[in-house]
Symmetry: D2
Subunit: 266 residues, 4 copies
Amino acid sequence: MGVTDSADDPLVIAGEALGSRLIMGTGGAPSLTGLEAALRESGTELTTVALRRVQAGGEGSIWELLQRNRIRALPNTAGCFTAADAVLTAKLGREACATDWVKLEVIADDVSLLPDPVELVSAARTLVDDGFTVLPYTNDDPILARKLADAGCAAVMPLGAPIGTGLGILNPRNIAAIVDDATVPVILDAGVGTASDAATAMELGCDGVLLATAVTRAGDPVRMARAMRAAVSAGRDARLAGRIPRREEALASSPADGRVNLDLAL
Amino acid sequence: MGVTDSADDPLVIAGEALGSRLIMGTGGAPSLTGLEAALRESGTELTTVALRRVQAGGEGSIWELLQRNRIRALPNTAGCFTAADAVLTAKLGREACATDWVKLEVIADDVSLLPDPVELVSAARTLVDDGFTVLPYTNDDPILARKLADAGCAAVMPLGAPIGTGLGILNPRNIAAIVDDATVPVILDAGVGTASDAATAMELGCDGVLLATAVTRAGDPVRMARAMRAAVSAGRDARLAGRIPRREEALASSPADGRVNLDLAL
Amino acid sequence: MGVTDSADDPLVIAGEALGSRLIMGTGGAPSLTGLEAALRESGTELTTVALRRVQAGGEGSIWELLQRNRIRALPNTAGCFTAADAVLTAKLGREACATDWVKLEVIADDVSLLPDPVELVSAARTLVDDGFTVLPYTNDDPILARKLADAGCAAVMPLGAPIGTGLGILNPRNIAAIVDDATVPVILDAGVGTASDAATAMELGCDGVLLATAVTRAGDPVRMARAMRAAVSAGRDARLAGRIPRREEALASSPADGRVNLDLAL
Amino acid sequence: MGVTDSADDPLVIAGEALGSRLIMGTGGAPSLTGLEAALRESGTELTTVALRRVQAGGEGSIWELLQRNRIRALPNTAGCFTAADAVLTAKLGREACATDWVKLEVIADDVSLLPDPVELVSAARTLVDDGFTVLPYTNDDPILARKLADAGCAAVMPLGAPIGTGLGILNPRNIAAIVDDATVPVILDAGVGTASDAATAMELGCDGVLLATAVTRAGDPVRMARAMRAAVSAGRDARLAGRIPRREEALASSPADGRVNLDLAL
């Protein structure tokens, strides 16, 4: 109690309802056992996997782990630098995972790990045409997000900060602008370092949060998974509850009221 | 599940254990009925009340509401501008509430609602000498917090931002410095506007969060109370789990590894 | 004295040296007389003009004003939404201004005024092939900036914040990343609201700053022009001087030294 | 030209006009020769000195250096932890420097170097009563600043960040609140790391800036001194010119105007 998992408030992507707004990645986990405990604690129902890992299937594999926990696998195109590469990898992922959902990543280089905006749009168009349900990892440019939605992507997944930095959301106005403009769900992807980052993403109006190393590389991944689950729930509730406005001036009691209302000063 | 209320991780003040790290205020609530629902949803076990309200006891009063929900009342000295006033008000509160705990407020004026540092220390010393368990509302000055702890206060309660502004934590380094230096629990008091602010306070190492209008004046106070409960839990778990370090550079996969680890890019 | 205009430290774009690192725009000026005074005070040697204004040449025109003050005109493609439009406008500007320099703008819509990354790269390639010296207005995406430089642009001009907002530099890390990666000059374009924003851009390593409404719509445009001139100079000097590192801890004197060094506490 | 030193806009403290709004400190300078060049470049007319250094007078001393450059010496009470210590040190400084001006510092400990608010007010009152012109170094608490002004101090000098950190202004709202409330000049003291920090202080309405290590420990102290001089001037001009408002939305041209006004997009 205290956390409403999204049973009554599902995240709907491409017509399918997910009972958790927290999407997990698997990178950075030192062991499958630890990963499994963290994924279970997170409550996630959708988890990204790199193709190579999926292909290494069989008992004791990530694939088997996800099946066992009834977590849907979302194959990604990590490590692809061109639209052509990403399209090919997506197709292999579709075969391996028997799903037409794909997390589309087309990065510009392996130092910045930032998306290549031109190749990304090109790959998205090709994959949509080929019947994929495309969830692209993008930078935080509102215009690029719009182009991806216009291209038929099922969601847009802007970064808060570069992958693995844990810097949170560097430009909240861009995330808010993407949300305001969005015709599809917006998932914050990359940058989350701690629980308040995930809550902030939801408060800005994101429909979900995708993270990996913030949990897998935390000191105690299971406890951090629990923190992230609660944070996503907290941020979602805060968004829907309607926060008080930010005020430049303190909210003083009315002098005429004597001290009656002064306890709004707590 | 999902949220660990603090049953196994209580907030201990002056030797007494509280099962929730969220302390609530009652100001700003439009009705007692709405306030009761929000307080219940918040899970709080300690709630501040202004003396005037306590004195207006009897059925249908805040006092009765707190009794009914087994929430401990923390009388405050809201509206006091001098040490002498605050000491007198604290004594009246002790009579009315039959508790020697007091939230000590000595504000400099009723526009800024900021604490008066000199009067505050003076009042704290007097009340400690008189046997009170003193929880002072203070600005975010680490030296003032130290003086209050040295004076025998049972906790220190620095502001994140001026009362009622909802601006969050304007100077996180000061809060972190207070925590690092603290010999007593640190409760963030004032400034919280939304859930991520509460989570951030806990991530900075605060032992608890005190808030009122962020819940009572939210669009949906009950839902915001739930958000705050989850946020405090998320922030506490994140602090204890140990977050990943902030990195200026993206955490790139090693080229030598092929794509094996690339999925840490999610 | 006090300000070194860039006589000994010119801004070199496409092999040509400019004696000021402040590039001005003309939009928002209520009168030509006021504009002229502000441009002169700013010390600028390069100023953008929209084609329509240039075409309305003759005595009393912006064109004549710039000629008279020996300020080079930089025609822009403001108001263009597609690569084709921008290319056509650039060609008209080349005719009208007898220069192959062009500030390339391809915006996605007239509400956000944000650049369209795909159309922008396309237009840049076409114009470079056609012999233009292209200075593109871009968002703050390091990858897009790299693509524009790779396409042969003579500079890249990322925004600090959306046009006309005066919000400063919303994501300093992106500007720093663009600078670190750059093979051509980087000019901060859009977002500057006040002097410290311009100084910050230069401290981040930008080679110049382009602004218009921060001066033309200021209460006193001439005084603000002077402020911007000094701020660009200050930021440039600070960058080259090498600032002290940011430290989390106060720099305390060594106790062993007695008070001898304590005056580093000022 | 370019920079208006404050000849027509002096900083007036206790009835005396200073031609520069930049007050320098001498701590951290590796040599007197380098210090002299930096002080000259800065244009300062008032410079703090620690008593020990003043006492070590004679040829080649800081004292002689300031005399030679007609820079007024402002003795400080660095290294004092109690009001009594500070008062004694101030009196020795008055003797040594033949001035009743004093920069009052009473720090709580030699790690944080933060002011002790209670001892500070006490020392200020004593020194004012004894005829000193008191310029107290204080934290950024608006109430403490008010108390110091009410005690008869000739200026208040809040920190932007702890001494030597170079973190800039951690809580701009507090500095703005001190300015709004002030009946005496406000000088930002401590925290400045680079030029934009100094400009920001002036834009917030400070009347001057005091800094030392940002110049003396910079890679090129003379160039940084020049940067700071220009930055203070830029910030002052920007404040007086009246900046454009911050806007959440881009300032788009009116569609009805065709492209005529589009060049406000630069």
